[in-house]
Symmetry: C2
Subunit: 276 residues, 2 copies
């Protein structure tokens, strides 16, 4: 089964486009978890148990796990093993390197015990992305237009009548022969999101920026989905996982996740009524 179909199945069975970002920071997790031997993992485990019926995917930002050293490495692997198989797991590392190094990254991120998908940076071009695309059932989300302020430095530079991010979108569309490509597009850019969705009508779009970063949820759903109201993976992290820093953190995270999932579904019903 292609990654594209895996994602669609996960979204349908969960009735959810929501992806929770497990940006697990030892300085922000509830203090009582330090009574456990593996606080990072305990935090993730409790969050997953509390939200697994509300999401299509979990995204692990590799920066946070690397920063925690050996403990982080263990937490990452134990967390991956704890996420139910029918859900999509995304290793968010924004890797990008030449052939043999990219092979190594692809091998470590997308092996049999690894993630269902990962994120990569396009700057080094096709031969830096190609090694990640070998398995049709593993997805690769290529950075196109990011949600941060620095996106303006290079991603909007116009060349041959189109901004850099559009050149990236068009290239990725050509690399998508195995239906395993996706794009990262920030929720803070609704107009460009619509433009990109028109260029790639059915490709998975990973859309961060609706929570703490303040992206516009209504337009994210409206412009980010395909014609069936699917294939947008709407990611929130801090606004959910740090909803409380007390013992009720998992319960409060569930409430936040449910509210966001439901709001997304309300917009889906509004904008995509007949197809579902």
């Amino acid at each position: 089964m292609t990654f594209s179909q895996r994602l669609r199945d996960a979204q349908r069975s969960a009735n959810s486009l929501l992806c929770i970002g497990l940006d697990t920071d030892l300085e922000k997790i509830p203090k009582h978890l330090f009574a456990y031997g593996e606080p990072m993992y305990e935090f993730n485990r409790a969050l997953i148990d509390a939200t697994r019926d509300l999401v299509c995917a979990y995204k692990l930002n590799l920066a946070f796990y690397e920063a925690a050293g050996e403990q982080g490495w263990l937490a990452l692997h134990r967390t991956l093993a704890h996420i139910p198989d029918h859900l999509i797991t995304i290793g968010d590392g924004k890797r990008g390197d030449i052939g043999n190094s990219a092979e190594m990254y692809a091998q470590s991120l997308l092996d049999d015990d690894g993630f269902a998908a990962c994120t990569v940076s396009p700057y080094m071009g096709e031969d830096s992305v190609r090694p990640f695309l070998k398995k049709s059932n593993r997805g690769v989300f290529v950075l196109a237009l990011t949600s941060n302020s620095g996106a303006r430095d290079f991603q909007y530079l116009r060349s041959k009548g189109a901004p850099l991010f559009e050149h990236v979108v068009r290239k990725v569309k050509r690399w998508n022969t195995k239906k395993n490509c996706g794009l990262v597009v920030g929720a803070t850019r609704p107009r460009q999101l619509r433009h990109i969705r028109r260029l790639v009508p059915t490709m998975p779009l990973l859309i961060p920026g609706v929570g703490t970063q303040g992206g516009d949820l209504k337009n994210t759903v409206r412009f980010g989905c395909d014609r069936l109201g699917e294939m947008a993976v709407i990611t929130a992290s801090r606004s959910i996982i740090y909803a409380s820093q007390k013992r009720d953190f998992a319960e409060r995270a569930r409430a936040e996740a449910q509210a966001l999932r439901d709001q997304i579904n309300t917009y889906r019903e509004q904008f995509f009524p007949p197809a579902r």
Copy 2:
């Protein structure tokens, strides 16, 4: 002391612009090393002991260490601890992510026991690079023009009369207020290397691609150095570290490194005679 000055000092005291890339691949290292508990580290240790007087820097490609999991993580840290303090260590991970994730990467790569410098990808712009630039004595090499074939996909796209890589160079020049920025420029692009050197007359340039990738060494020295015949960090990896896969690997690596260092110095004497 600024990173720029640290690099200059390392190059002068070693009389070398050579950087050895420790792209240590468990499938390529000599088989007899598996008799040791930590073959990756043993390989690196032997190479460092055999070449430490010939180089200004060692570069560790993080992809190879991540792919080896926990063993890789340990090997990386033990290797870092074994490299003499006066040499430059470069963590080559080509990271690039938004603010708080970049903070995490910066923290794990450039902490007190970490690398002297790292590589980052510019795609996400200033706020993805800024967290790496906090310490003036730690360097950040930003990808500008890479040595691989995929560089043509985006890095040469022209906008406002200049290719994307030149926009990156000009931005990095503005970010260099602490004298800790550098650029990655492939040795396979001598004409563009000359152009970039003119834009940043004294900035450190990390130049891969002279070994297995076949870059032109003479023009790399000629166009990559500053006016004193310094500040080019010429990196070779596979051609040195896998010179032999037998018990003589370290000895053969030394011979390769010495030949390359000497050839670089011959060109330095040719092109930069009066200043040294």
